[in-house]
Symmetry: C2
Subunit: 134 residues, 2 copies
């Protein structure tokens, strides 16, 4: 069912410093910051040959990653995103196996303009999993 | 400098349950457990079309992930591994930028039989980074 690893998201306390580090210290291709007000984050994409790293920084007081950065002030790996062909079929299959879908259970349009869902980290080894229909 | 994302490692408290979940609930291609006594872990590789997920479970009392699972009993994302062409050149460049290399600073042979180094998570947004020479 799951396909490619679309991205790994890393929440960071200083977006400019993290971008500079990936560009200068790690020598990666780093994009410009993009505000995603619907998702409460500013993101920077790091393009690797086979996938992306998504640096996440809070945008606004209700940002969903404020709590994560309070618990992890230095930052940390926030989630992994797997691609699926049919997000409704994937959701229904996962629910049958007992996995919990976060929120209303209906896909939202994610930061890349595609339908996404998040799965409960307690059901996936402490790992927040995003599914994105591609 | 960094190339492909070689893998994302997820430490899990129950390797059999996590393998079954990736196979049955997420529908992924899941390998057999492999003991890596030199690294104090048993690993299960999950093959995605563009990269791998590495499930990690402690092997022995001195396993380097015992402490992680004590802090995160449900499991969690443990590290990301980026590929490099020349691990000594990468290490020397990173040290010049102020990043700390864990351990002796000399590459060890990793679970895939290739030279690896780990970078201090405090220098990388709370994210443990492995470099693997490919």
């Amino acid at each position: 069912m799951i396909g490619r690893l679309n991205h790994v998201a890393i929440a960071v306390p200083d977006l400019e410093a993290a971008s500079a580090q990936y560009r200068d210290a790690l020598g990666a291709t780093v994009g410009a910051p993009q505000d995603e007000p619907d998702h409460g984050v500013t993101v920077v994409f790091i393009e690797l040959p086979n996938t992306k790293i998504e640096l996440l920084y809070p945008l606004g007081e209700d940002s969903p990653i404020n709590g994560f950065l309070e618990k992890n002030p230095a930052g940390g790996i926030h989630h992994v995103c797997y691609e699926v062909d049919d997000i409704i079929a994937a959701r229904d299959h996962l629910k049958e196996t007992g996995a919990r879908v976060l929120g209303s259970g209906e896909p939202k349009i994610g930061a890349h303009g595609k339908p996404v869902l998040f799965l409960h980290p307690k059901d996936f080894n402490g790992c927040l999993v995003e599914l994105e229909q591609v």
